[in-house]
């Protein structure tokens, strides 16, 4: 019995079967997608940590008004298991930080903050990580237009 078969009914029961979508691993690279409300994030991550998962990475996708936060969880195990947790919310709303539960989340959340300006409530040290401390922009937001003031010349952007 694989871990995927074990965890699917648990997730469906606790977080709603309508929020859980099975994905084609051969094509998309992960098994499950769970759309989640941000209040229940810590509850889910506590459960996943108990179950032996590790946090692969956190990232975000800018969808206009909405910022989709994506958390990927995997396992050091065979057969492989990968869960994508999707938290979509309007920009500017803080989500609970996971750094207190899984410490790998510390740097991952700092990177998301750095690149997207997403705030994480309860993060111990939410500073910029890759960009310089005095940067006043979040470069992976879609309305960010790089210019000469960000260093260097920008070529090619009109050539899409």
């Amino acid at each position: 019995m694989s871990f995927l078969e074990d965890i699917t009914p648990v997730l469906a029961q606790r977080f709603g079967v309508e929020n859980l979508t099975a994905q084609d691993r051969a094509r998309h690279g992960y098994d499950l997608r769970l759309a989640l409300d941000q209040e229940r994030l810590t509850e889910l991550v506590g459960l996943l940590k108990e179950a032996g998962c590790y946090l692969e990475y956190i990232t975000a996708v800018d969808q206009g008004q909405v910022l989709e936060l994506l958390y990927f969880f995997g396992r050091y195990d065979q057969p492989p298991f990968r869960l994508q947790v999707k938290v979509a919310m309007p920009k500017g709303v803080a989500v609970p930080s996971l750094a207190g539960i899984i410490r790998a989340a510390d740097w991952q959340e700092r990177e998301v903050f750095d690149m997207f300006g997403q705030r994480f409530a309860g993060h111990p040290d939410l500073r910029r990580i890759l960009l310089s401390e005095d940067a006043d922009f979040h470069p992976l937001l879609k309305d960010f237009k790089p210019g000469p003031e960000h260093g260097g010349e920008v070529v090619n952007l009109e050539r899409k």
Partner: protein, 370 residues
């Protein structure tokens, strides 16, 4: 913020951003009590080059040269991973021969990466001689790979649907001569380094990481296998021709610096086995799939791909809106997670051990900063 907590006996030491043993522009802010470390804050980002942003502003093929610049030691592995990710999303079939060639080259690249790590690590610990031997061996690999890719570090060799160029006789002869040579050298390394009393005293029991701690900090790659977890993506989520090959996943138990060293040395032997097997079965045929469009357009959706890079779990995640340019291009680089554990394992150790631990984790700074 930090200054307020400063007492009379403790002080701060900036290790880096320019320090020979930080392997690039890494900055460690150490709070010391004499020789003992109380707190460590790794500061990264000095070589941030906005690769993710570039990935979102150019087409899939145009981003290919960038991939080998993230991790300059495993450039071919990164090329390979990126091509596999895009091919999987588009459903492109890769010819059999190209799959073998890619695997051979990626494994050679893995060996060269480990060799450089080996030399640099021993140099950090104060041993100069192994560095010269390791670079001599690595030079052979770079020359072999240069024969087919035309480049020594930033290969840009893989293409969507195959590879750029077929193997030539120089490559085959060079590799055949290189495998026994490195096997002999690995024996020498054992005598020279692995049994050396100074090396053992400096690495055994230093920087111990338990399997539980490793999971909490999302460690992957050799650092994780040194803690006793046999997790290798080449076996766990097999891609390319790895399911057809015989190799073992070396693991150790203690999770200290010595074990991390031992796992990498054992991995080189396994990589040699892989190269030998793959070259032995190298099929004939084309090296590039026909009909791959120049401006590739994966169907709308999101795609994840996991690859075992020399340093661990390399995750590529991209979101396509069906166009020529991805909507989002995310790279989960292994060193980023591996380095963050320093703030956990360094407190309580000595400054001299800091160098031993930092070196044993095998970080490549441009890969962290992207």
């Amino acid at each position: 913020m930090l200054r307020k907590t400063l007492t009379e006996d403790s002080f701060y030491l900036n290790l880096g951003p320019q320090h020979p043993s930080t392997h690039g522009v890494l900055h460690l802010l150490l709070k010391l009590d004499g020789e003992r470390i109380l707190e460590c804050k790794p500061l990264v980002g000095y070589s941030h080059r906005a690769h993710e942003h570039m990935g979102q502003n150019r087409t899939y093929l145009q981003f290919l040269p960038n991939t080998s610049r993230m991790d300059y030691l495993g450039g071919l592995c990164y090329n390979h991973a990126y091509c596999l990710a895009v091919e999987k999303a588009c459903g492109i079939e890769v010819p059999e021969r190209a799959r073998y060639i890619r695997t051979v080259c990626a494994e050679l690249n893995r060996i060269s990466s480990h060799l450089l790590w080996f030399g640099a690590y021993l140099m950090d610990l104060g041993a100069f001689t192994p560095f010269l031997y390791a670079f001599d061996d690595r030079e052979d690999i770079l020359a072999i790979l240069g024969e087919v890719t035309g480049s020594r570090l930033t290969y840009s060799y893989c293409r969507f649907g195959g590879v750029n160029r077929d193997l030539n006789q120089n490559f085959l002869d060079g590799t055949k001569a290189f495998i026994p040579k490195l096997r002999k050298r690995l024996k020498d390394y054992r005598t020279l380094v692995t049994k050396n009393i100074i090396f053992l005293n400096r690495t055994k029991g230093i920087g111990t990481v338990s399997a539980e701690l490793a999971r909490d900090w999302a460690l992957t790659g050799p650092n994780l296998r040194a803690c006793g977890v046999a997790y290798d993506l080449r076996r766990a989520e097999p891609y390319s021709i790895y399911p057809e090959l015989e190799f073992e996943i070396p693991t150790a138990t203690a999770g200290d610096c010595y074990d991390r060293y031992w796992v990498r040395m054992a991995e080189m032997e396994q990589s040699l086995r892989i190269v030998e097997q793959a070259l032995g079965r190298l099929p004939e045929g084309p090296v590039k799939a026909a009909g791959v469009p120049q401006w590739i357009q994966p169907p709308a959706g999101d795609y994840h791909f996991s690859y075992e890079s020399p340093r661990g779990h390399l995750g590529i995640y991209f979101v396509s809106d069906g166009g020529r340019v991805p909507l989002r291009m995310k790279w989960r680089t292994p060193s980023f997670s591996n380095l963050s554990i320093l703030s956990e394992i360094l407190p309580g150790t000595l400054v001299a051990d800091t160098i031993a631990i930092l070196g044993s984790i095998d970080v490549v700074i441009p890969e962290i900063d992207r």
